[in-house]
């Protein structure tokens, strides 16, 4: 099992960072890499409890899946403007992940986002051979995550400005 914990500080207040993760409108932006797609299959309740989404994302070509991985994610234990849990099943590698994301208001208009994840391949042979390499390849570095979150904040500020204007 691979365990991954990290955090990034986003230069935006907590409600704006929450919106980046949880905005469920049809104009929700997709990641810019052109390979990652997030499709919400079920929106969950009013705060998103029970949300189900299907993600496709790049994986190493040596996994023989055309360079595309897929996951089915279920979000639960949603506490508005605070935290949530996700359980994900992935192919390939036939695997599961369990994670928590928590937002911390740093009080100066910035927000620390805490991520923690446990990742495990089901097949013991594949686990020994590939689990670490695959998890490393799909766990993006902090700079990329910060850039994505900052880009999301800018997108939603522009979206709100358009709606007001």
């Amino acid at each position: 099992m691979q365990v991954h914990e990290y955090s990034v500080v986003v230069p935006a207040p907590l409600p704006e960072v929450w919106e980046v993760f949880w905005y469920r409108g049809p104009d929700r932006p997709q990641p810019r890499d052109g390979k990652t797609k997030i499709h919400i299959l079920h929106p969950g309740d009013e705060v998103g409890e029970g949300l189900v989404r299907h993600c496709t994302f790049p994986v190493p070509r040596w996994l023989l899946s055309g360079g595309i991985g897929k996951s089915w994610e279920w979000l639960t234990e949603v506490k508005l403007h605070d935290s949530w849990r996700y359980d994900a099943i992935g192919k390939p590698l036939w695997s599961r992940a369990e994670g928590h994301t928590r937002l911390e208001d740093l009080g100066d208009g910035t927000t620390r986002v805490h991520f923690s994840e446990k990742y495990e391949a089901f097949n013991p042979v594949m686990r020994a051979l590939l689990e670490r390499r695959v998890h490393q390849s799909i766990s993006r570095d902090n700079d990329a995550i910060l850039a994505a979150l900052s880009g999301g904040v800018k997108y939603h500020r522009a979206r709100r400005a358009r709606e007001v204007g």
Binding site: L41, H42, G50, V52, H54, K70, W72, W74, D87, A88, I89, K91, W94, R96, F122, N123
Partner: protein, 119 residues
């Protein structure tokens, strides 16, 4: 349209992929449907349904009525091109189920018909 789904492998409660179907489930109960169960060797089983075959032991999942379409859309993606969605029957009526349609030469039959007790 039925609101029940027959699962016989990793989608069963407390199995590896339960979280794929759990968001849409309101109830579960043991269930048997006639067919042949196989081990794909990849960590998940395959089933070929046949009314004249012995029982495959699995679980009937009742889906939330207003989420059946979303559940099936999610499961269609999850099962992928190796399986097709069909309607099978147990003593209580019709259920959706996923049947293996890919190469059978790689499969090893599970004589017990149970993924949780294969021998």
């Amino acid at each position: 349209m039925t609101e029940r789904l027959f699962v016989y492998g990793t989608l069963m409660p407390d199995h590896e992929a339960w979280s794929v179907v759990a968001p849409f489930a309101t109830a579960t109960q043991p269930c048997v449907v006639s067919g042949r169960l196989f081990d794909t060797g990849a960590g998940y089983p395959a089933a070929v349904f046949d009314a004249d075959a012995p029982p495959i032991r699995g679980v009937a999942i009742t889906l939330r009525a207003h989420d059946v379409a979303a559940a099936l859309a999610s499961l269609d993606r999850f099962e992928g091109p190796e399986y097709r969605r069909i309607v099978v029957h147990d003593a209580d009526g019709p259920l959706f189920a996923y049947e293996w349609i890919a190469d059978r030469t790689i499969l090893i039959e599970v004589p017990s018909g149970s993924w949780t007790a294969p021998s």
